[in-house]
Symmetry: C2
Subunit: 464 residues, 2 copies
């Protein structure tokens, strides 16, 4: 008797001769008549179930088994039978069924379809639905594909700190991290919390980006990347924002802007190809049930070169267009999502890189172009999502960077160590950041960031 | 003219015929006489340098180049010459040297050796030393090896939340996460911070473990794991404790305790083998310069089966020993590090699993053994480090778990969702946790956790 995984039954061999096999899993559905029952069992190894045929004749506990609520745990032993003419290619004829754990009948995931909103309230159970099974399987495979792509190219993975005393690029509101007594809080002379008495001896926050801290590693290892959680304490309730999300931030020494485009296009294509290879059944399910254009979009993503235009060309295209934009278009504006989606969905119908943005709307560390008006920055805009990747060549010239920090009002004392990187052997370098959940929305067809995060953290809501 | 990486020169082909090649990197040392200079250049791709031979005769900027401080950035073009009789197998005869960035002469990493303590104060520069180059390269490769081992076995990677409202197992002091105004803080009727007005509407903390939140995913996907940062706000200044560190927490449905031992032994051996294959030069450097027993220990780790004993047997061994323990030994105590190291280093001289600990010293979720005195728990003790891995079979019996939560004084309301996992189809399951930095100390020979973390976070100290 061999323990088998349902995944292997679908994707490897089903040749067990006359041997019995056994499958352990959870009941998804039961249909039964007097003499026979059809039980769909999912064992977690695959999105598809095995159909178990149970007969009253040869099962002492037939009556007990057919009364089991959905989600009960079984170990089924029997013979695998090929059924080439049926919906499923095979079924398992039970000779013995052990009830490992009977479920309460009030199990919330009954057969009927549930809204995504409701499923968010039972985040500990939703991975047992097909949709979230597919989404979180893809999340895992995509994460691995990213590591594999970068490690193959000798990128060194760096865990930049989560708790930080800096606020990086002023990228957004931050969460404070503290162990100060919350009743009798020590105060300084201005009535503010006295952080000199806090755990680290100063005020600390959750990171908004690991970029600045990973740059020193690029200047030691050449090619490096972060892949970890980042945080924004923002009062935004859109479908694309969460307070806690993961970012991938590759950084490359001796690289200029075009290498950011090449590396990130290569990465995105690698991930999609990896998913097409390793998550075919999950993607098919999502294509059938969540977004009918998903597979077409993914194939387009790997088959076609991404478009590449400058910001100035993008503005031209938007100004010439007949579309009715809510936010007026003019050279100098930050592109709004309606503009980004128009470019990716209507004009190019595929991912498009937009480069060389106005310097005033981008971060201080981006390298000034010779026109003094733009910086060597890039955003990748993709259909359905808008901005997926942002990157730039970094300003490696110490004097230019210092002047720009003054101009942007950044406290130099806090960035001494960052300036050191220019002082002790300036080196051209470039990098980019990918919002992991945005990438997942792109490759799963899911429309809300809360549905690609195991336990989403949103303002006003923290469960589990 | 081909751009090449130093790593490829050492590990791949050096056959460029008569073609010139170019290398971009940073000066490690320069020795020069009137006519010739020997410049060691490291390009970040490998722990070893390329020796550049520069001659006054054919370099217009020879004088400028030889005066460059260490850490200056160069692009060297020239011919590669094999030198089978020299220390280095090859050297690069410069035909052109472009100075990409001259370093300030006060670069802190001059040729002389620096203490590890001093290097911690320049965490943004220490990856440019050989020791930290090796350590952080190994950190990256070990992380990837862990993902690869688990993904090959179809383990699904789950990102459990960093910000949490629960305190898991009561595993330790937590950091509070808040956006409440720190001057005019809203207070409740007891004079405590009014967390109903905080970002999430209740008090929130940084996670100490993802285990409880990953268990639901094991009951959907069968085999899962976390790999992410965890936090302890503990007043401990040992060499083995940091406030922020990374953990790997695999969890397996339908698995009992022995499978924890098999899986974790397999994982550790896989990682060490991966490093022996992919980081040979880095490990050799650490063996030569940090811990002369490192390679022997690593080979032992992969070549020999780990020992397996029960806690009761461990206590017997300790009681019978002649060693002079500071903490007295008696059945029921929690093993102290002196005991753990004695077992791993003196008795077994290799990693040893200790199973079936007294239930009163272990967490509430560990499965009671039939003797009612012990639980199905395991720790892996390894030479030099002590405890490296901790795991257990989880209590899947709803009534037993509930009674135990009462006994251990845990608020059931907070764990409703955790009890649901037993209510809706109880399933045997087991898992373990690995402190990633402890693993890194084991495989690098480094003695202090602060030296295996890119930017360590320790009480009273937060730089960068």
């Amino acid at each position: 008797m061999t323990d088998v995984l349902v995944k292997d039954l679908y994707t490897k061999s089903r040749d067990f001769g006359e041997d019995a096999i056994s499958v352990s899993g959870w009941i998804r559905t039961t249909r039964s008549s007097k003499k026979i029952a059809f039980i769909e069992v999912n064992d977690g190894s695959y999105i598809k179930n095995v159909q178990v045929i149970a007969k009253r004749d040869n099962l002492a506990n037939f009556e007990e088994v057919i009364k089991l609520p959905i989600s009960s745990t079984l170990k089924v032993t029997g013979k695998l039978v090929e059924t080439p003419d049926a919906q499923q290619p095979f079924e398992l004829h039970a000779e013995e069924i052990n009830i490992e754990g009977a479920s309460d009948p009030d199990y919330p995931l009954q057969k009927k379809a549930h809204s995504l909103e409701y499923l968010r309230t039972i985040a500990h159970l939703r991975p047992k639905t097909n949709t979230f099974y597919a989404v979180f399987k893809i999340r895992s495979l995509a994460a691995f594909a990213i590591h594999e792509y970068l490690q193959k190219d000798d990128f060194v993975y760096v865990n930049t700190p989560i708790i930080t005393s800096s606020d990086t690029e002023g990228a957004g509101e931050m969460f404070r991290v503290t162990t100060l007594d919350d009743q009798d809080t020590p105060k300084d002379e201005n009535g503010k919390n006295d952080y000199s008495k806090d755990f680290f001896g100063e005020e600390t926050n959750l990171t908004v980006s690991g970029q600045l801290q990973v740059e020193p590693f690029a200047l030691a290892f050449r090619n490096v990347y972060t892949f970890g959680p980042t945080f924004r304490a923002e009062d935004s309730h859109t479908k694309r924002h969460a307070a806690e999300f993961w970012m991938i931030e590759p950084e490359m020494a001796f690289a200029e802007l075009p290498e950011v485009l090449d590396s990130s296009e290569g990465l995105l294509k690698y991930v999609v190809n990896y998913l097409l290879d390793h998550a075919a059944a999950d993607l098919q399910f999502l294509n059938d049930n969540v977004d009918n254009n998903l597979l077409e979009l993914l194939h387009k993503t790997v088959d076609e070169d991404f478009a590449r235009i400058t910001y100035t060309e993008a503005i031209d295209l938007l100004e010439k267009s007949d579309a009715d934009f809510k936010f007026p278009v003019k050279w100098g504006i930050d592109l709004n999502s309606e503009h980004e989606q128009y470019l990716a969905e209507q004009v190019f119908k595929r991912p498009v890189f937009v480069t060389d943005y106005p310097r005033n709307i981008k971060a201080f560390y981006m390298r000034d172009n010779t026109d003094k008006k733009t910086v060597a920055a890039v955003d990748l805009l993709v259909p359905r999502i808008g901005e997926l990747i942002g990157g730039s060549q970094r300003e490696e010239r110490e004097d230019v960077l210092q002047a720009k920090m003054d101009e942007f009002g950044l406290p130099q004392a806090e960035y001494d160590w960052y300036l050191d990187l220019r002082k002790y052997g300036a080196t051209k370098h470039s990098g980019y950041g990918i919002g992991f959940e945005r990438l997942l929305m792109y490759v799963t067809g899911m429309d809300n960031i809360r549905d690609v995060i195991p336990y989403p953290r949103i303002q006003g809501s923290i469960n589990f």
